[in-house]
């Protein structure tokens, strides 16, 4: 699981993108990205997540999200990407045993 903390915008999205890339390069194929500790996210965060999502699909893996905060979900809903990503309200629901 990747736990993203803080605000995700143009100043921090590249780091998020790199982290996801690295995890995939290291062989991760089922990645849960938790946005529970994210206070703000704009479309640059979305781009970083989308890049990771696509890389995962190409590798027959899966990237899912944990997010409940309405403000953070907002950028997904207004762009329609809430229908692309699997977004779970809790980590438990994102990682069925």
């Amino acid at each position: 699981m990747l736990d993203v903390v803080g605000e995700v915008d143009l100043s921090t999205a590249p780091t998020l993108r790199d982290r996801i890339e690295q995890l995939i390069a290291d062989g991760t194929r089922r990645l849960v990205v938790s946005l529970e500790d994210v206070g703000f996210m704009d479309s640059s965060g979305l781009s970083a997540l989308l890049a990771g999502y696509r890389r995962m699909q190409e590798s027959d893996g899966a990237l899912s999200l944990v997010c409940r905060d309405r403000a953070v979900l907002r950028v997904f809903t207004v762009t329609g990407l809430d229908r692309v990503f699997a977004i779970h309200p809790t980590v438990e629901e994102a990682t069925p045993s």
Binding site: E7, D9, L10, S11, A13, P14, R17, F40, D42, S43, S44, L46, S47, A48, A51, R70, A71, R74, V75, V78, T79
Partner: protein, 125 residues
């Protein structure tokens, strides 16, 4: 009372986006809009500032109360699909305007005074 005006000007660095959001959020809170709307203003501002960052010109956010709305205007120089933009891996400018308009219908690009800016209005009350 004369209409209220607010202005913020910052160097074009992505790490200052948080300051621009905080500035816009305090204006929104000043007018006592709903908490969810404050969050929408932060998102709109964060998107609107990207063109200035790509162009390397100052982040410039102006706000002005006008009757029952607050107009926000954010400098947004024309940028092509430059390597800078690709390196930043951001949405293109049209997609960002569309995003802002989903939050604040009527959001648009305005030009004049040799300036190009994203403009949107925040309804009050």
């Amino acid at each position: 009372m004369s209409p209220e005006r607010f202005h913020l000007n910052l160097p074009p660095r992505a790490e200052h986006l948080g300051t621009a959001r905080t500035f816009a959020a305090s204006i929104a809170r000043h007018y006592e809009v709903a908490g969810e709307t404050v969050e929408d203003v932060k998102l709109a501002i964060s998107e609107a500032c990207v063109d200035a960052l790509v162009a390397g010109t100052p982040i410039d956010v102006r706000a002005r109360q006008d009757g029952d709305v607050v107009w926000f205007e954010v400098d947004a120089p024309e940028t092509d699909d430059s390597p800078e933009r690709d390196a930043l891996d951001a949405l293109g400018s049209p997609a960002r305007i569309e995003l802002i308009a989903s939050l604040f219908p009527g959001a648009e690009i305005v030009t004049g005074d040799g300036r190009r800016a994203v403009r949107f209005s925040l309804p009050l009350g």
